[in-house]
Symmetry: C2
Subunit: 195 residues, 2 copies
DNA sequence: CGCGACGTTGATTTGCCTCAACGATTGTGG
DNA sequence: CCACAATCGTTGAGGCAAATCAACGTCGCG
């Protein structure tokens, strides 16, 4: 049941049987279906979710109605709106299930309780957020300094599995370009490759 | 000497006299001059720095030689390359002093020592990184969904003091546009305002 | 079957960049 | 103290990456 998340946690911190037990007692397991939403804009995010199986995406919608995808989350990834969760303020993003998923969540009170009972978890979540920050920084740099073609190449390179699993227009929205333009880029790629 | 940083820290966690003493013993104070570099691309970042006075900027240079500014750091801000620091790997960014500054730094070993002796600091730095992540996320959204004019307006709104203190071409590099284009935007702003 | 989701293609437009030239201001060495 | 170099902002001409809009083909599915 908790095997996957325990594995994940043990990469960062070492826990006793006792501590593990406390941890588990504060978690919830949920099954969620494709096309349902874990979070909508305006709601206060009351969970951090660990994906056991399935696939979800977080995105926001700009004033023109276009989506930009912040994250695809598959097995062994965390997803949440940290700003909304940690400051308990309305969210600016949506989190939607793309493929039926099994997730493990922890709510705000339980997380604070966890920190109180097992302070080691402060370290786990610090490392986790730190890594997210590093990744987002990379992505920010790429989005301002690289043309779409190179960003697409990097994506294929970094997430080969995802590029099979996720529809092309979603990838475009992740890369920050229109689906039409991604199509044109791909055409160009294959064209120049076979020559 | 440590007044500013103590104030900052006490907003997040409460420390005893004893703990405060340990904290101070692990810090270094430095004066750094305009145009000097705290960090260059390729070096391993061995500090997290708290700005007591002065102003520094962190930026990266893309393959065409253009700079993009990640952060301006003034009084009471932290600056570092977290990815490089926390994983002790070569940095991809530069950190340069814009105005003579007094800074307080902590190195990798001292930070780990601090965590060992006063675990509360795990919490402080978790909150700190969490806030950075929230800010960067905002900025990322803006950079893909808003035109330059609105991003400039937001900047003026959010950092009124900085916009006085920092040359215009640096602001352009922060916004991710060319200095020439910012000049044209400004012209447009004043033009439409006075009509 | 027919509908909706997805990908492709072309025509047109646009936001922003690049390059080059030109004042204004500041700083600096002779 | 002047002269000259840097640094900074402005303006214009021309160009390009990517968006928008519209139309069309193709699946898979209720």
């Amino acid at each position: 049941m908790f095997q996957e998340i325990d594995n994940y946690v043990s990469q960062c911190i070492h826990l006793t049987q006792e501590e593990l037990h406390i941890f588990h007692s504060l978690l919830n397991v949920r099954e969620v279906r494709k096309k349902s939403f874990l979070l909508k804009e305006g709601e206060i995010c009351n969970f951090e979710a660990f994906i056991v199986s399935g696939c979800v995406r977080s995105f926001f919608i700009d004033e023109n109605g276009y989506e930009t995808i912040l994250q695809f989350a598959v097995e062994n990834w965390w997803v949440s709106d940290i700003a909304s969760f940690s400051e308990q303020k309305p969210s600016t993003i949506f989190i939607e299930v793309m493929d039926d998923a099994r997730i493990i969540t922890i709510d705000y009170q339980s997380k604070e309780e966890l920190f109180r009972q097992v302070p080691k978890f402060e370290r786990l979540f610090r490392l986790l957020v730190q890594r997210s920050l590093g990744n987002l920084q990379q992505r920010f740099f790429a989005s301002v300094s690289q043309p779409a073609l190179e960003r697409y190449r990097s994506f294929l390179d970094k997430y080969p599995a995802l590029s099979q699993r996720v529809p092309q227009n979603q990838i475009a929205r992740y890369l920050g370009i229109s689906p039409e333009f991604l199509s044109k880029i791909r055409k160009e790629m294959f064209h120049t490759k076979n020559k």
